[in-house]
Symmetry: C2
Subunit: 408 residues, 2 copies
């Protein structure tokens, strides 16, 4: 595994001349992924409410699954006995798995971080578990993941500078251990091997961020991820950091911005030079009635859709928009019909993937800035409706355990 190998499995086809946007192809062992690419999140070996065929039909070429959740349930043993994660969940296309670092960070009081790794209590049954840089790799190899993420130490927005520095430095030491372990387990000369990315950290200190990028850039990783953003900071802060950080990562390797994003964030992050994204946003807001349209996100439960006998998005070619009206979706959400969550999810994923297609095509055709401005002039993120969705989501989370969970 050398930097030259990495360059071989990522082809950049075109660069935008006004921004850092680029479009290309990731040649993974389970097929090509056109970049910039958005990965739907399949936390528990399922993209919530949709089948693999439906995910594929939205234009998604790769999905993300969560190591933390899968190690707890169904567990590595079951996934291996099933023949790997792809077979288990009937998704034969590429899968990227995260390392569990972010999920463990989210557990707050239930975890203990040491140089060895993290010890934490399961959110399911309180049982004690451990993740180390080595075991995170072992788990993902066991799942059969195509792109493996190393364990990182994530800090929230507003942490002390000493904690930010500690987390960045630990993430680096853990990355070295992860790569060392990966090399003992995987023949890096084998073309069908899985890939391993490096994750940069550094909190919200630009100097730390630069040092982290330099550190990861010097290692033989197959791609570089930007971790520790989208952890509660204001959006302008996130975008400002991204503008600084993305260009510091190697030009010839895929750049992955973890946990982003909404349609508006995707466009801006692509302009900053990012190639790969994952986020629960499209699927989560969908399950709470937040549907994307070219004019912005709308709340389908709003009474203005009660007798809107046309598709939510007239321009959309998804199953939902071609077969059902906004009025029917409105009714399904009001009546809490399970079909609502699926139809909304399919639409939002298709909307995002059509945006990604538009992004890729406009870069290839030298019109990226024009399309970006057109998107920004038209698309209203609808913060007010977003806040409503957030409130409803929190309310839903609290009462969670009775019936099928709609929250990640």
């Amino acid at each position: 595994m050398t930097n030259e190998d990495a360059a071989e499995h990522f082809t950049i086809l075109a660069r935008d001349s006004h921004t850092r946007a680029r479009t290309g192809v990731l040649h993974t062992r389970r097929g090509d992924v056109r970049t910039p690419a958005f990965m739907p999140v399949g936390t528990q070996a399922a993209v919530k409410s949709v089948t693999p065929d439906e995910v594929r039909s939205t234009g998604s070429e790769i999905i993300l699954a969560n190591t933390y959740h899968l190690m707890l349930r169904p567990g590595l043993e079951i996934i291996q006995a099933a023949g790997g994660l792809h077979t288990f969940m009937a998704w034969p296309h590429p899968i990227l798995t995260d390392s569990g670092g972010f999920q463990v960070y989210s557990l707050a009081g239930l975890r203990e971080i040491t140089e060895r790794g993290v010890r934490f209590r399961s959110h399911i049954d309180g049982s004690l578990h451990e993740l180390t840089p080595e075991s995170a790799i072992a788990l993902q190899l066991g799942f059969g993941s195509d792109i493996i993420m190393p364990l990182d130490d994530v800090v929230g927005y507003g942490s002390e500078l000493t904690r930010q520095r500690e987390a960045a430095e630990r993430t680096h030491r853990w990355l070295l251990r992860a790569l060392e372990y990966f090399r003992t387990m995987v023949d890096t000369a084998e073309p069908s091997r899985p890939w391993v990315f490096g994750i940069t950290q550094g909190g919200f200190d630009l100097d730390l961020r630069r040092r982290s990028c330099d550190f990861v850039a010097g290692l033989p990783v197959d791609g570089c991820a930007i971790g520790g953003l989208s952890v509660g900071e204001p959006k302008p802060v996130m975008l400002a950091f991204l503008e600084e950080v993305a260009p510091l990562l190697p030009e010839d390797k895929p750049r992955y911005l973890m946990g982003v994003g909404s349609p508006e964030d995707l466009w801006l992050a692509v302009a900053a030079g990012v190639d790969l994204f994952d986020c629960v946003h499209p699927t989560r807001v969908a399950r709470h009635g937040g549907l994307y349209t070219p004019e912005g996100r709308v709340d389908i439960t709003s009474s203005r859709f009660r007798s809107h006998f046309a598709p939510v998005d007239e321009t959309c070619d998804c199953l939902t928009c071609t077969q059902f009206t906004a009025a029917y979706l409105h009714h399904l959400f009001r009546a809490r019909e399970l079909l609502a969550y699926r139809l909304a999810t399919i639409h939002n994923l298709r909307f995002i993937q059509r945006e990604m297609e538009r992004i890729r095509q406009s870069i290839a055709e030298g019109r990226f800035v024009i399309e970006l401005e057109e998107f920004r002039a038209r698309y209203r993120p609808a913060d007010q409706e977003a806040a409503q969705v957030q409130r409803r989501r929190r309310a839903g989370s609290k009462s969670g355990e009775g019936v099928g969970d709609i929250d990640e």
Copy 2:
């Protein structure tokens, strides 16, 4: 509308010589329905968790929707503005609507029955509503229903004989009013008109039941329904009454047993001479992890399926069984993934419709009794597991309002 007309829209193709089973075709204005037929329940203009295409792909040719639920939400006005129920829910095939009688009966304390009709409070917002024999017909005509059921007065198992008699007699008077109103609204000579059935009642008194059958048999209805069974009585009681009652209904009209059934009940009711069924059983137990197999119903959440890397039903050709293993379904249910409810629903509906196909074919080929015995020898209703599902369902109902509702 005469009895001769009724005979024209129902063709009996074959009769079993050992039982009262028969197979035929209902020629509805929206297409043929092969009988004996099972109608999945789409209470709120959706069969819970599945799309119309998926319902159709299970072999279902007609569905049932509930007048009570639809009149309250989204309301007649919205359904009419949408172009009728078929367009609203994107199901172009036949729909039978119930009258709301049974649902109002289920409201217990929230209702008041008079000769005029029933007044009741909405389970959604407590608002006051009324259903009369006339308005029940008007609503169903407004929905665009293909088979309309008249308002009936339903009594539970264990009611006083006087109450049973009162309910049967009121049901008869209401039926006369319903038919009178129907004739003023519908040109009964028009071949594309909707149909109206009569409902027999009589509680658990055989004499009342006989009189009710005689009464309805003498009226120009398009089919005859057996109401007031499957209301809490032991199964042998239901089947004993059915054996007596079904033959009293006209031979040349379709016979509809309301609210039945499970696979085992369907076979026995067909033997008694029934042609049409609806029930939430297959879809409801599915959402609680109860899956039908040729050997009986199993609880997919049971740990014995944890590493069962084969379809739940090896003989099944449904989407679920052809694409996913029992172990994956087990995981989805354990993880409360929304996809679980859909995959289980698709399988159970397909299982039921394959049973209906087997029933129809065996009658046509003179092997009905052989197949019935084969089914009974092999299929174990799994009462123990059923009880677990029931317990879980009740637990789920209580916590209901937080997230997507899996209960009807």
